[in-house]
Point group: C2
Chain length 477, copies 2
């Protein structure tokens, strides 16, 4: 933990990697492009899982588990799907010492194998809707990888549902987009823009793809979760059919939606600063770190006695930890827990013991202005209150930052300046040619067509033709 973190202004990518390694969130695996998620990073993922899983169950979904291996022939059944995923596949050709008759793909996503199973399970309209989620690992062979953002193997959840109508599938698609947005904003304190992906950016095999897009600290966009209306594409490829009320055989309408360990990258880059990580209290594995301060053994034993009592008073309502380690100065510990993004520090020294108080120090307001003295008896109440304030503040800061760097340019010159600074919200005619030209000229891609639109038509920022809606353009991860 000795080396300094590269400042963001100097090299944002180096800052990002430094923070991850110094905070011990993750490490590089021996296999190229793969990642090890270390205990602190995994604890963060467990909090993310808990927040999402509760929301999935509250909206009627159940978890299940489908196999890691998919027959190569399955991938080929949906034309767009195989085209999109073929270049990224990892292929098992040998098992048990012998060459396999048919190579197996390590799942890059599970529409195909889940579609195959749904075709076995679904017989009648009474079996619908099927609302299933899976937590697991997937593999996509990536050329350029970056910890959490793009790794060959990553952890995620993938929801897969089947319905009796397009309307119901569309409702489900948007319901889960709302679930993701609610999670991102209220748990991760990340403001997001909900929108529809353009044809060139949609999921391989989807009818329509939706996304939540967030602005990172370097003003680039990060697609943070997606929800897809698959129409009848996979139902037709895998014969997912049911008998309707009139005893007629019909194809289902299916959806899929996913959020991955990439969310950890979003949290790092939305909130982090040159001191390191800054975790939103609702997801922080450690919400409050208690640091006893003592100059000698006598002081230490007095302080630790009180520390024990106040830790007990926090109970299980707060995720806290005491840093009792000897051989490290209090200042060193302060730095370390700031680097690791713990939202709140509780300091207690001999003076505080004498005065029946503790010091609360906020990670989101370093220095004197973030410090308050709190009577020990009021600790739990005050800690909960301050954690709520920090949660709110992180969200507001991120929202403010995004607003400052989001522009509505009215001509292409202003557009180019806008995407050099952050997000550009601009009319777009819907043509892939305009998207491509914009990308080639500015490196900005069409992030989404926001669901929230003013409604009047305008002129495409690139070609000037009629445009019904505005889109968000930005450089992106």
């Amino acid at each position: 933990m000795g080396d300094a973190i590269t400042p963001r202004s100097q090299d944002y990518a180096a800052w990002y990697t430094d923070v991850i390694q110094r905070a011990e969130l993750a490490d590089y695996a021996p296999v190229k492009g793969c990642m090890v998620i270390r205990p602190y990073g995994y604890a963060l993922w467990e909090e993310i899982q808990a927040g999402l899983d509760g929301r999935f169950k509250a909206t009627g979904h159940q978890n299940a588990y489908f196999p890691l291996f998919i027959p190569m022939s399955f991938m080929q059944k949906e034309a767009q799907h195989v085209e999109g995923f073929a270049p990224e596949l990892a292929v098992v050709t040998h098992g048990g010492g012998e060459a396999l008759e048919e190579p197996l793909v390590v799942r890059p996503t599970s529409e195909t194998v889940i579609g195959y199973m749904y075709a076995q399970w679904i017989k009648s309209y009474r079996d619908l809707p099927v609302l299933i989620n899976q937590w697991g690992n997937v593999v996509r062979w990536e050329m350029r990888t970056r910890l959490f953002l793009r790794t060959t193997e990553f952890l995620w959840q993938e929801g897969h549902t089947a319905h009796t109508s397009d309307e119901e599938a569309q409702e489900e698609t948007l319901r889960m987009l709302d679930v993701y947005a609610d999670f991102a904003e209220n748990e991760a304190a990340i403001p997001v823009i909900k929108g529809c992906k353009s044809t060139s950016e949609k999921f391989a095999g989807a009818q329509r793809s939706y996304t939540i897009e967030a602005m990172m600290g370097d003003r680039k966009a990060l697609q943070s979760a997606t929800s897809h209306n698959l129409g009848q594409n996979f139902a037709k490829a895998f014969n997912i059919q049911y008998l309707d009320k009139n005893n007629q055989l019909q194809y289902c309408w299916t959806t899929s939606w996913g959020l991955s360990t990439r969310m950890i990258g979003a949290i790092i880059m939305t909130h982090g600063d040159d001191q390191g990580l800054k975790l939103p209290p609702r997801l922080a594995p450690i919400q409050a770190i208690i640091v006893p301060i003592a100059k000698n053994a006598e002081e230490r034993s007095k302080v630790l006695e009180v520390v024990k009592r106040i830790a007990a008073s926090l109970g299980k309502e707060i995720r806290w930890k005491v840093d009792e380690r000897e051989g490290y100065t209090a200042g060193w510990k302060f730095n370390e827990w700031e680097l690791r993004g713990v939202p709140l520090r509780i300091e207690i020294g001999p003076k505080d013991v004498a005065q029946g108080q503790v010091v609360l120090a906020r990670r989101d307001r370093l220095g004197k202005e973030g410090k308050t003295f709190v009577p020990q008896a009021e600790l739990l109440t005050r800690v909960k209150q301050v954690l709520d304030e920090i949660q709110h503040n992180l969200y507001q800061q991120a929202l403010q930052f995004r607003r400052e760097h989001t522009h509505e340019p009215h001509d292409y010159e202003a557009f180019k300046e806008a995407v050099a600074d952050g997000f550009a919200l601009a009319y777009w005619c819907g043509s892939g040619d305009c998207e491509t030209a914009i990308k080639n000229e500015t490196k900005a891609t069409n992030r989404c067509i926001p669901l929230d639109q003013e409604g009047q038509p305008g002129k495409c920022i690139y070609c000037g033709k009629l445009a019904k809606e505005k889109a968000i353009f930005a450089r992106a991860y």
Copy 2:
């Protein structure tokens, strides 16, 4: 759900598969030897995970995630390890459309890749012990597979720890064996025998392997979890070294321990009967199923009103569900939930509404003797009490069954009869030749040398030579 379950007495293996498929715990995947865990089976796995994860964290362990892919060369670094696992490996030879320079193994277990990472992370005695657990999937290419018991891919947890001494590693190995035994007995209601594996049965690469062995309903043994003291074998293969207090470089002592979805097979076969599954209340995804009974719409609306109230009174302390489906008779629903192993049924009809009561029907005591009338006002208290009784009763029944089929034969003829009936606890000299001869002649294998021994030496049941300890022999899964 129309077909009857094969009776156990007729074909135990068919009964097992019927129960799994009819109860919708799992299904066959399109890839040979792989399994789909359906929502009801996965919900059971989630309860198992919660029970174990809490115990792991209470004993100081943290979760982390290591990569799915392991370089083939890693597998070869520990001689016994590669010998044991080579025949079972699935191998990725292509990624992103190209042949890989070095083939990658899909992890069959993670000692090697975790050992490699520990070697990077551990520098000093201050970094020890490292106590990490991983929840994930592993792949072992199996010839003969059976749902939950032996599948090509399965879900499990694998703990991996590193220590400064053999004693500490041994303590950890036995601590986790105790955790497994405690979980099996108190959550899954499965009595287990804790013991040490013989050399021929130990984990490939371990110094000593420990197991918990349980007796299934067909009197065969099932190894239900294992804990391994790996000595310095993997530390030496992967250079897991630390500087001790005297600044001397030392090799660590490591352990590993695992429990898999096989535990679901153990639960099915320990408690199930010809009516189907019988789940222990502490792990049952649905602990109480509420079945409203009504002959017409008027009755139905009256009954449902009370059902709503009593369901609310159970709150979140009990995992309950109301089966409101129309178009199914009450009798059909009773059968279905019995088949699916729900410990307790709460019936409520018009008469019960009038009398302010409900009927509780126990899955572990079908028929009249398992039914009691309970005042609605006392429901929560009584449900909790009856669930505790069922939990206790399932354990006692399984223990009684194991006792009835465990024998202590004093000569080889009696031994042969004993292993034809169940478990034989007999003196064994420690020789692999005796084990092999016994296996060839009786199909029984050495399950374990129980930790609990009387302490006097005796004569080996096979060769008659001096034997210090007794071992459990049985036919096994």
